[in-house]
């Protein structure tokens, strides 16, 4: 049904989209102006560099079409690129009828982070993750924490040269036991991530995928062969919210969650609770129900507090009471390990045994002063705790 609000929005979006293309960067249909409709990005016509650079690799998943067109098959955006075009994620270009990634070996961010920061609470606690990102993202979250790199072209940001073998070497020398593909959106640098992950696995380093999960099944299945853990940001449980807050769709993300679960990749889920967008209790209840039915009770779920960020800077932070309510609601629905995020020193940061309820791990930030796990089981009742603990 068309409401007055949606009619107003659609009308304004149409007018603004047509009038502002020259004033805004080609690929973004003036998301901020195009209002609550769909802020999905679009292909950047004629924006590809004239020639490939050192940091290029032919795409692993794409289809050639007539007239030298190519269709990228990595993510559900299915960008169809004419020669000279650039994909929604800004990292893929069609040059000479072939799809190339231009985010390969040129990370713009490389840090050593505690694994808990990802957040991964049930995967090798107290270890370090060598974390890398190249520029680009296939969606357009209004509250992106890393918009400086996710909404930028690879050639427009400062980067270091670090090809897959170099990443593995750097990870090892930093004492990291994992490599995390994170910050921006690793799906946009899929080829670089996959090759690095393969090299890391043969070197005995684990691979951690921190992503929006907006990826097609085929590339995901291939990626699963080298992945050890993932944290997928399930941004809401509403397709409408996904479209107006993130410029993406819900269904492909749910499909990703199922695939990761089926392939046995250690999986944790994060949901940012944004006031006015994703703080709907009923929606959260449905989301938790879906998780329990499709993924089981064992995948940790993190509810994060929102703070004003990027374009979404005129909203208040999420009240702590809302996060607490969602945590108890998720536990009522049957999810065994539900955490709070961005609330220091809250008991919701700790791990409690789902069988006996005793404190297993106390977390003070990235420090774990109490650890009552014995191997992968509760020291008190010997119940196996889901996760990768060693």
């Amino acid at each position: 049904m068309i409401t007055r609000r949606s009619f107003l929005r659609a009308g304004a979006a149409l007018v603004l989209m047509h009038s502002c293309r020259d004033l805004c960067e080609g690929g973004v249909p003036c998301a901020h102006a195009a209002s609550g409709a769909d802020i999905k990005g679009s292909v950047f016509r004629g924006d590809a560099p004239k020639r490939l650079w050192k940091y290029s690799r032919e795409g692993y998943f794409y289809t050639k079409s007539y007239g030298n067109k190519v269709a990228c098959d990595v993510c559900p955006n299915h960008c169809i690129l004419n020669p000279g075009d650039r994909s929604v994620c800004r990292s893929k270009v069609n040059i000479g009828g072939r799809l190339h990634s231009i985010a390969y070996g040129n990370p713009c961010s490389a840090n050593v982070d505690p694994i808990e920061k990802k957040p991964l609470y049930h995967f090798r606690p107290c270890t370090k993750a060598f974390s890398i990102a190249a520029a680009g993202c296939n969606i357009r979250c209004l509250n992106c924490q890393n918009w400086e790199i996710s909404q930028a072209r690879p050639e427009d940001v400062r980067f270091i040269e670090l090809f897959p073998a170099g990443v593995v070497k750097a990870a090892r020398s930093s004492g990291s036991s994992s490599i995390a593909y994170t910050y921006s959106e690793p799906i946009s640098f899929y080829e670089y991530m996959f090759d690095t992950a393969r090299a890391a696995r043969s070197a005995g380093i684990t691979n951690v995928f921190i992503s929006n999960g907006y990826i097609n099944p085929k590339p995901l299945l291939k990626l699963c062969t080298v992945l050890d853990a993932a944290n997928i940001n399930l941004k809401s449980f509403s397709d409408e919210v996904y479209r107006r807050l993130n410029g993406a769709r819900l269904e492909p993300v749910l499909s990703t969650l199922k695939t990761l679960h089926e392939r046995g990749v250690h999986l944790e889920i994060t949901t940012l609770v944004v006031p006015g967008y994703t703080d709907d209790e009923e929606m959260t209840r449905r989301m938790c129900g879906w998780i329990v039915r499709n993924l089981g009770q064992d995948h940790p779920l993190h509810f994060l507090r929102f703070f004003p960020k990027y374009k979404l800077d005129r909203l208040p932070p999420t009240p702590i009471a809302v996060i607490e309510r969602f945590r108890s609601l998720a536990m009522q629905e049957g999810i065994r390990y539900v955490y709070v995020g961005n609330i220091p020193s809250h008991e919701g940061n700790n791990t409690y045994c789902h069988a006996c309820g005793r404190l297993l791990i106390e977390r003070r930030g990235y420090i774990l002063p109490v650890n009552n796990l014995s191997g992968n089981a509760c020291r008190f009742c010997r119940t196996r705790i889901p996760g990768v603990w060693a």
Binding site: R9, A33, S35, G36, L142, P316, P317, R325, Y366
Partner: protein, 681 residues
């Protein structure tokens, strides 16, 4: 009154930066210029105007403001993305939509009323109307600034102005012997619009899903307090500023600085966020002085538990920089938690001059703490330049500067070496924190600190009062965030100039530059006044009034001149340039010589000289009716250019002294045009 109300409305609805203010004024003045031209066109097409036509044409001014504000609020909440800041195009579209129709009619009415008056008195001078218009504007400005703004809500102000106008229109209709039905219809519509506006005022400000607890219009902007599931958040001009549950921000802002001081006894907090005072108290200071410009915010904090009453806590409800300048008290730590340096006003707390002032009020071993928006994993180019500039600025004043990266980048400056290991410092003081103790090691690791330090640019310009580099970077950041290209606007203005200026006569060109310099000087004066003397609301209101008031005697003198127009124009141009030159010279050599009286005198003299020129160009040229309309139009368009040039280009990109010189350049160009086109007339 309507103009001032609308600017406040735009600042609250969109981003409160100089660019938005200048866009609002640009749209206003440009639409006014178009309206004036439309009056001339209407005169040609429809022939002799009547009092009745003036009343009917003026009527929209009594209902449009309320409707425009309601519409823009509806667009802000219903059409644009809720809770999101807007980019260049939505801002300029809404600004044009909000100010355009009203300003168009205002621009139309000015020459149209002249035509109406001249139907009875053919020799009525345009200059006299100009004087009356200035008197009205001055009176409106005074009433708004001194009476209405604190006591009446925006809708109330608009209703007051509508009722005053309605009374004038009814009088006009009675003179024109119009029917009762017309008058009754006008009264009904004005009342209906007013009731709708006042009735919907709070409703249109309430956020979705949260409860609007308090709404106040202070002298400094809109203050709203919202409650959601027990969380109180104070919004200043639409942006969340103080929140009751932001432990991370409170700990960072308090402990990063105080950890460096062994035993802080006296602490000054400048515009602190929620919970910061409580964190500072954990260091056991003897006194905490809490300074904030807007007392309305303080009263809301106290009333809703965002600020508790503590022994040793003293609230200082005045401009913190003015307070610091006037006090002899010294501190062990001065913690600045001001909003981002996006405006000339907030930039005053990030400049070299402020840091020097702060240093003079620090005890031995004391520290100054500042912070700006940070980053998660990658520092963008404008942000890198911003931190570099701040680091260099602090380095020019203090012996040691520590930079801590994170969601906010902190700079701790002092004259003793700093220690970046904040958790250890706090541990030594036996202060246990929720965030810093557990997260600092991962979020502000030595690697991240070194990574940021390695990226800082030692050649980045210093941020000073008169060259506010950070304001310019704020415009860059805004453009980057919204993928906007404001240079298209600049290009558009350039093209407009190229098409528009050649069509002007030499005298109209002089008037164009006068409009430009008059408004440009006013903006320059307000910015300078704030820098030198602080945000003194009433005195700044007085400056605005002085700039309007000076136009009247100028126009009055011009009405008594009948010969030597060219010479007078050139002489007044030279006078304007000379006064600006004096200001530039003092600023460049000894700005300390400038007193508040200088600015009042400066504004008055500049506007007298500008006011003198208008009647000469509008009234003496043959074909007076069309020339008057054109003169009104040229003056307004010139002012529009002055506004955007000075606030969005000259001051941020060239600095204040160069902005003065650029304005002088405009007047020199005017003199040259007058000189070479001596035979035009």
């Amino acid at each position: 009154m309507v103009q001032l109300t609308m600017i406040r409305e735009l600042l609250a609805g969109f981003e409160g930066n100089e660019f938005v203010v200048s866009l609002a004024l640009l749209c206003w003045l440009a639409a006014g210029g178009l309206g004036s031209l439309a009056a001339w066109w209407a005169r040609v097409v429809f022939g002799a105007p009547s009092a009745r036509s003036l009343a009917l044409a003026s009527f929209p001014l009594a209902v449009l403001p309320v409707l425009q504000v309601l519409t823009v609020r509806a667009i802000r909440s219903q059409v644009l993305v809720e809770g999101a800041s807007t980019g260049f195009l939505p801002t300029i579209s809404c600004t044009a939509f909000m100010t355009g129709p009203f300003a168009l009619v205002v621009g139309f009415i000015l020459p149209w009323s002249l035509y109406v008056i001249r139907t009875g008195d053919g020799r009525y001078p345009a200059g006299r109307l100009y004087i009356v218009d200035c008197m009205g504007a001055t009176l409106g400005g005074l009433v708004f600034t001194w009476v209405l703004v604190e006591w009446v809500t925006p809708m109330g102000i608009l209703v007051v102005s509508s009722i005053v106008l309605l009374a004038a229109l009814l009088r006009l209709l009675s003179v024109a012997q119009a029917g009762m039905i017309t008058a009754a219809a006008m009264v009904f519509m004005v009342l209906a619009a007013g009731i709708a506006g006042v009735g919907l005022e709070a409703f249109t400000l309430a956020p979705r899903g949260a409860h609007l607890v308090e709404y106040r219009e202070s002298r400094f902007g809109r203050v709203t307090l919202v409650r959601d599931h027990g969380l109180h958040t104070i919004f200043l001009d639409g942006m969340p500023a103080i929140s009751g549950q932001d432990r991370v921000a409170a700990e960072e802002a308090a402990h990063f600085a105080l950890a460096q001081v062994r035993r802080p006894r006296h602490v000054l907090l400048i515009s602190p966020g929620g919970g910061m005072v409580e964190e500072v108290l954990r260091h056991g200071p003897v006194s905490i002085d809490y300074a904030r410009t807007d007392p309305t915010v303080i009263s809301l904090e106290l009333a809703h538990g965002l600020l508790g009453a503590h022994a040793g806590l003293r609230v200082v409800p005045e401009d913190p920089r003015v307070y610091l300048k006037g006090t002899t008290k010294t501190y062990d730590a001065i913690c600045v938690d001001e909003p981002e340096p996006r405006t000339f006003q907030s930039n005053r707390f990030f400049t070299r001059e402020f840091m020097e002032l702060a240093r003079a009020h620090l005890n031995e071993g004391g520290v100054l703490s500042l912070s700006v928006e940070g980053y998660e994993s990658y520092i963008s180019e404008p942000a890198r330049r911003r931190v570099s500039s701040l680091f260099n600025t602090a380095g020019a004043v203090f012996g040691h500067v520590l930079v801590l990266p994170g969601q906010r980048v902190f700079l701790i400056a002092g004259d003793r070496p700093m220690d970046a290991d904040i958790p250890s410092l706090l541990e030594r003081k036996e202060i246990r924190t929720d965030y810093i103790s557990g997260y600092f090691s991962g979020d502000v690791s030595p690697d991240r600190i070194h990574g940021l330090m390695a990226q800082l640019d030692p050649a980045a310009p210093l941020n000073t009062d008169f060259e506010p580099y950070l304001v310019r970077l704020a415009l860059d950041s805004w453009a980057l965030k919204h993928a906007a290209r404001p240079w298209i606007l600049i290009l558009g203005l350039g093209v407009f100039c190229a098409l528009y200026l050649p069509r002007l006569t030499s005298r109209e060109f002089t008037l164009f530059t006068t409009g430009c310099v008059n408004l440009g000087s006013e903006i320059l004066t307000i910015v300078l006044f704030q820098i030198l003397f602080g945000y003194l609301y009433y005195r700044i209101g007085l400056i605005v009034t002085v700039f309007l008031a000076g136009l009247m005697p100028g126009a009055w003198v011009a009405g008594r001149l009948s010969r030597g127009v060219r010479g007078v124009l050139m002489a007044t141009d030279a006078g304007i340039a000379g006064i600006l030159g004096i200001l530039a010279a003092i600023l460049a050599s000894e700005p300390g010589l400038l007193s508040q009286w200088f600015f009042y005198a400066f504004g008055f003299v500049i506007s007298v000289l500008c006011g003198l020129q208008f009647p000469l160009v509008a009234g003496i040229t043959p074909g007076q009716d069309s020339m008057a309309a054109r003169a009104f139009s040229v003056d307004l368009v010139g002012a529009a250019f002055g506004c955007i040039l000075v606030s969005a280009l000259f001051i941020p990109f060239l600095g204040i002294v160069s902005a003065c010189l650029a304005l002088i350049g405009l007047k020199v160009a005017s003199i040259m045009v007058q000189a070479v086109s001596a035979h035009d007339h």
